[in-house]
């Protein structure tokens, strides 16, 4: 996703000289071409995320379209108040890009697990929260970001579901994409774990259990209608995210149900539970630890349908 983002951003930077990319001293080998080709549009703010975000706000208030770039939690948690008070409150065109969503940097350790970011960022008013599931969604959102008013958070994952865009399809910010149709389960997912969800849905379909599968590439604002319409049909809600269960996709779905007085007959929220992860392993390994692989999700869904 990272490379897809940079490639697309570089195209836009060529056409729009007001685009400025600010990195917190990360992106070795990835941002090199951008920096070389567009030195006036590239700033390395150093290892200083608070100043990076304040600086980005100042640039944006002066008319620039700014992208801040770093990994995992660094561009959001270290400088959360700068995002809230400076960028968001002032409706500044600051697009905070974090590579390494979820367990992308699994073996690097707990500091590099971005597993509460969606909950935290979606709590901020006036911040659009984006979490693509595939390369196509990544590219489409990258193209859309400069035009989205105010601050945005863009969570990029190491894993992805390939390219799920269909011929002629246009991605709409704030509208979930339905990737499979079915009648038994409404399956919501966000981020690169979409790949597991697709594999799971296809495997279930071969066994006669069909899913309405949605990729929620936009977490805030949230597309309530797609989820509720599907639930009306299936009566079974399952959410899947590489994120803590507190405040993420599953929480949002529960809030939507409560607000709409819709009570699914069966439901299951799948995500990270049990405190901070101190286990060492790559993204796939840690998905296995938390029961988030395609096979695990399939088993959970079958269990939920039975229960």
């Amino acid at each position: 996703m990272r490379d897809a983002f940079i490639a697309r951003l570089t195209e836009h930077a060529k056409a729009d000289r007001d685009i400025v990319l600010v990195t917190g001293d990360l992106g070795f080998g990835v941002l090199t071409d951008f920096a070389k080709n567009y030195p006036e549009q590239f700033i390395n703010a150093g290892v200083a995320e608070q100043n990076m975000t304040g600086l980005a706000t100042g640039l944006a208030l002066a008319g620039k379209t700014v992208f801040t770039y770093s990994i995992a939690n660094f561009p959001i948690l270290r400088c959360l108040e700068q995002i809230r008070n400076d960028a968001a409150y002032h409706d500044a065109n600051v697009n905070v890009v974090a590579i390494g969503g979820g367990f992308s940097y699994g073996a690097l350790g707990m500091s590099h697990h971005a597993t509460e970011d969606l909950a935290i960022m979606r709590a901020l008013p006036q911040v659009t929260v984006l979490s693509p599931g595939c390369l196509w969604e990544t590219e489409e959102i990258t193209s859309a970001l400069p035009k989205i008013p105010g601050a945005c958070y863009f969570r990029l994952d190491k894993s992805h579901a390939g390219r799920t865009g269909r011929e002629g399809e246009k991605l709409e910010i704030g509208k979930a994409r339905q990737l499979r149709e079915g009648s038994d389960v409404t399956l919501l997912t966000t981020g690169g774990i979409l790949g597991e969800a697709i594999a799971c849905a296809d495997s279930l379909a071969s066994k006669g259990v069909t899913c309405d599968l949605f990729s929620y590439h936009t977490i805030s604002p949230f597309d309530e209608q797609s989820m509720l319409s599907s639930l009306e049909k299936t009566g079974c809600l399952v959410t899947l995210e590489e994120h803590v269960l507190t405040g993420g996709l599953g929480s949002i779905a529960a809030e939507v149900c409560l607000d709409a007085s819709v009570y699914p007959k069966k439901s299951k929220r799948l995500g990270i539970t049990g405190g901070y992860c101190s286990k060492v392993g790559d993204q796939n390994y840690l998905r296995g630890v938390y029961g988030l692989t395609a096979a695990d999700v399939e088993a959970s869904i079958l269990q939920t349908l039975k229960g």
Partner: protein
């Protein structure tokens, strides 16, 4: 109106505003009244008839708790009606205790949490450089907020990028929220700190307008400028001066009357 006359009016306004709203931080406003008067009355290229004009100078009050003084300066300069100052801190007002830009002509940036103003000022200055704009950015900081690490990140960045269109003024009144600066986290050697970060430093009496103007007009090509303005917290009201108490205390009753009398007689 001279900048000295403007400063005198600002002091009268802030005592009335903090009295009417029963709000804090009167001494923080009084200590920087001369700095604000020189900036708004002399140094900055701003136009009350066209608050958002291209290439205007930008001002950020990083010590947002002293917002009353900036609102007063904007009203005196004609950005909005002086009468509106009476609504400060009142229910339904647009003039919040910490400076806010929402609906207030002339305020570039809202602050309140310390250590935010300078990084944003750095961004505005960098953008002006990228665009070849003559716009300058002025940021007023408190001494206490120099405890914030975010400022030192911005200080490093500004010097590295040779932002000589950026001016920081530190209202060095030596008192912060609970105690003196020296007893909280000592800043000295303060001039040396900025110099070692490659800023052009001018140290002045922050109540002497000629010194402030001279410092703001100094040649600092290739370097950002910081004016370390030695001030007296609560300046202009004798019983508020150099007192930790008046960081939070609001002037009410006899104290209000005495303060107003002193400010109108001076």
């Amino acid at each position: 109106m001279t900048t000295e006359e403007l400063a005198a009016r600002l002091r009268q306004h802030v005592v009335r505003m903090t009295n009417a709203g029963k709000s804090s931080h009167v001494a923080s406003s009084l200590s920087m009244a001369d700095i604000i008067a020189v900036l708004y009355g002399h140094a900055m290229n701003i136009d009350p008839k066209d608050p958002e004009k291209q290439d205007r100078d930008r001002f950020i009050l990083s010590k947002g708790h002293a917002g009353a003084c900036v609102y007063a300066a904007l009203a005196e300069r004609g950005f909005f009606d002086v009468e509106r100052l009476k609504t400060h801190y009142q229910n339904g007002s647009i003039l919040s205790g910490h400076v806010s830009h929402k609906g207030v002509p002339g305020v570039e940036f809202s602050t309140g949490s310390l250590g935010h103003g300078l990084p944003v000022g750095v961004g505005l200055a960098k953008a002006a450089k990228l665009d070849g704009s003559p716009s300058k950015t002025f940021v007023v900081l408190s001494d206490g907020e120099c405890d914030e690490g975010s400022n030192w990140e911005a200080i490093m960045f500004a010097a590295h990028h040779k932002l000589d269109n950026l001016v920081a003024v530190v209202d060095y009144n030596k008192i912060q929220s609970l105690a003196s600066v020296a007893d909280t986290l000592a800043l000295e050697p303060f001039v040396g700190k900025w110099q070692s970060f490659n800023w052009h430093v001018r140290e002045v009496d922050g109540h002497d307008h000629a010194q402030l103007i001279s410092a703001l007009e100094s040649d600092h090509e290739g370097q950002p400028l910081v004016v370390i303005a030695h001030t007296t917290k609560g300046k202009g009201v004798s019983f508020m001066e150099n007192s930790v108490l008046w960081h939070y205390r609001s002037p009410q009753g006899d104290e209000f009357d005495a303060a107003i009398k002193e400010l109108y007689e001076s």
